[in-house]
Amino acid sequence: MHRSRYLLGVVALALAIVGALVLWKALTSAQGGSGMPIRVEFRDARGLRTGADVRYRGVRVGQVRAVQVAEDGSKAVVDLMLDAAGEEQACINAAFWIVAPRFSGLASGASGLDTLVRDAYVAFLTPKERGSRLLAGATLAGDERPPAIVEPDTLAPIGHGDLLMTLLVPENHGLREGSPIVFRGTQTGDVRSVRLAADGRCVEVALRVDNRHRHTVTDHSVFWVARPHLSGALLSGFAIADFSAIVSPFVAYATEPGKGSPVVDGHRAGAAAERPDLAVGEVPPEAIAKQASRVADTGDPIVLVRIVYDAVDRDTFSADDRIRGEGTGVLWLDASGRAVVMTARSVVDGAYTASETWGDVDIDREQITVSIPGGPALRGHRVWTAPNDLDLAALVLDEAPPDLRGTPADLLAFEVDVVAPSELRALRPDGARAVVTDLADLAAVLDQHRGGILIEAAKVSGLLGQTAPRKNSLARLVGLGVAPADLRPRK
């Protein structure tokens, strides 16, 4: 009895020692510098040889140990040995491919040209959202071509004042992170991300438009995904639009001059399924005229800016209301060099216009965008509101460019307090002076000639237009005399 019990114990102990040795040997062979073995299956080994490199971001992180044909002959099986760095980077969703000379069409161009003069090698990339670590001895399916992974760090950083918006496209024709956004053939921004909408009915493309160009995007802009577009007929001849998209698709948009108002961050727009039938017209004569008049007309440089106000009115008992205001303002530089914009308070202060049945008005997420003609769109913030409930407010622009030009002080009159709207006179770009009797008309004129209309403000203190006027304040123009001294222009 004792002997048999001991015998079984000895057998168990011997088995345990043998098992421990087997585990130990496997452990040391896996950890002992020789690396982690994995297996990748390709349809075509593309001439890969034993001893070739395994690279991650161009750095050698392993070696090809064996290249063989699968038993059923359907695949090439490549055994890799990853070193510690490779083991650290590899994960179950890493993409492995064989780098060999390859021409992938116009879109991607040629790759792997270094392997023209040296052996093919295996490369892999790990996506940003990495999967779990690989087990030693794991088998992965290799890719036949390099993955289309664009690293976010290759995108330009988002700058101050850049417009961030979302474009909904019916189908993603090869758009990806970093794809350009083009306006009149000029790149104005880039695609930040592309993903399928939650309900799967469209593709959401996040766009960044450079702050120098954000004024080119309005709520009337038309977007489309540019692909080569063949039009015409046999007899009349063919034309190919957006031919450059054959290399890489991009987002294009068109904005009719003077139409629509600038959009704020978070704007959502839908893209047309096809390229809209837009003719590339001639350069408008006004542009040439403006250019000419700017040279000629140096005596009356009043700087008018477009202002877009966006905020949310938090309601306790109902859905939040979005408040949106648009208007015009006069820009000058004050004594300390700050860019000051004087405008109607009803444009830039939600609390001034909103009314609340229950409790106080709760305005949140205010965003004021000031578009400078021919310049960037800048963020502004309210620094002053006129006393006595007057419809006048002053903004200071954040991070105004150093070369920003303001209205000269001598053109701004402070002695006049109130001017009737009927006396408002507008100077059109063509030089004609128009009398505007209603601010709604002024807004229409401004919409048509964005940045191209000057209003003779030498005698006018505040110069304001409203698209969503407050009751009884439509025609209220208040002189600058009430503005605090520190906001007054530099003499």
Binding site: R5, Y6, L8, G9, V10, V11, A12, L13, L15, A16, G19, A20, L23, A26, L27, S29, A30, Q31, M36, P37, I92, G131, S132, R133, L134, L135, A136, G137, A138
Partner: protein
Amino acid sequence: MVASFWSLRDFSLAHRRGDGEELLLSGATIDVPIGGFYLLVGKSGGGKSSLVRLCVGLFDPREPLPRTKGGFDCLGESVVSGPSRALRKRMAAILQEEGLLDELTPRQNVELALRAAGRSKRLAPALLAQVGLDPLPDRVASMSGGMRKRLAVARALAAEPEALFCDEPTAGLDSQSAAQIAALLRLAHDSSPGRTTIVVTHDLAAFDGLHDGILELDRSTRTLSMRTAGDAATDPVVVGPLPDRESENNLVHAMRHATLAVGGLAHTFAVSVLRLPPFEMRSTLRSVVECSLSPLPFVAGASAAIGGIATFFALRNNPVDGGFEAEILQGTGKVLVSVLVPLLCAFFFVARIAAGATARLGTMTRNHQVMALRMMGIDPADYLLTPLVWGMVLGLPVATFVGAVFASLAGLIAAQAVSGTSTLGFVQTWFRDVDPLDLKAALGKAALSGYLVALVCYHLGSGPKRSGADVGEAVNRAIVHAMGIALIVHATVTLCVYV
């Protein structure tokens, strides 16, 4: 020159019982001359054995000593609170239940006694021949009652005692065998001049003509008197009421028991440290082999089942189908190898070894083998505790190692079955989080648990046993306490290491 073997001066002896005291001797005064062969007779339960046990020092340290009053000298030394170590070496006793060590051969029993007395083992055959045990059976268990008595005599003579006590040496024997044993005892008495022999017996017929006097313990009068060989050899007539019971305060009684219990624990712990160097190398080695090997089949099988099942279901119930397998295996390996398998191995070990060790100790205590060891001058801790400590301190880490290996191997098989993991991949992931500290902690927990489990087994197993039920109860408690201790040790060490 000591003239008396026993000298009692107004000596009273009272037994402490559960609820009070029982007076056995009251004011006995007697001198028993040295060198005689005496019979100690009296009614059962009258205190004959207690008198002998007090004289020889066979009371368990965890038992309350009888209460005494007056003087009781043996060979010139007071034995009121037990004999001195030197005096005990001059005495030997043959217990009623012999106390032969079952796990040794008859010859080894005698050799052990010779060694304990500092004499050569080669004297064993002569001693065995002297008591008429030739040829000698292989096992103690196969010996008849008469042969067991003869072997007990041989073992008692091994120490060449000046005083030999025999407790009912003829009990359970037929008259012929009883007469042979009586003659043997007389022969043994005569073999060494000056030896005093006291035989506790009811069987006066067997010793008829062999004794030099009868010491009679009268239960009714609670006195001890001597009749010499010339007096009429009649059974003492005992009349009168049963001995009085002196009531005792329950609180005092409970406090004494509590003190003895705590003192017993402290004694066990102290002895485990003081007697750690193995004195009985042979039994220590046997214990180490026993503890290291016999639980292994059970531990290996159970650990493999746990490792396999845990890995199988961890991978099978993976909510991310096929994902994060490396992480799942890594976590499972860490938990099993570092924490769970060591703890479960301790439980398996307790179930397999600790229960058996406690049962063995309990039976030895019950069969007076432990008392026999003490009588031979062998500290039971040397013979029983030290081997157990070494066996468990070394055996439990071995069991833990085997358990961890088998759990890992079963985990490998499960991982291959569920997700086709390669051996290399499994090993690398399974042991990724297991560092040397984990292994040290696991083996440390095992060794510490082994030590404490050994103490528990010895303490509970060698405590006073009056019946088979006591042995069963001790085994039960040993399992529960040992598992509790293992759990506490593992939880504490694990928390200290990882938190």
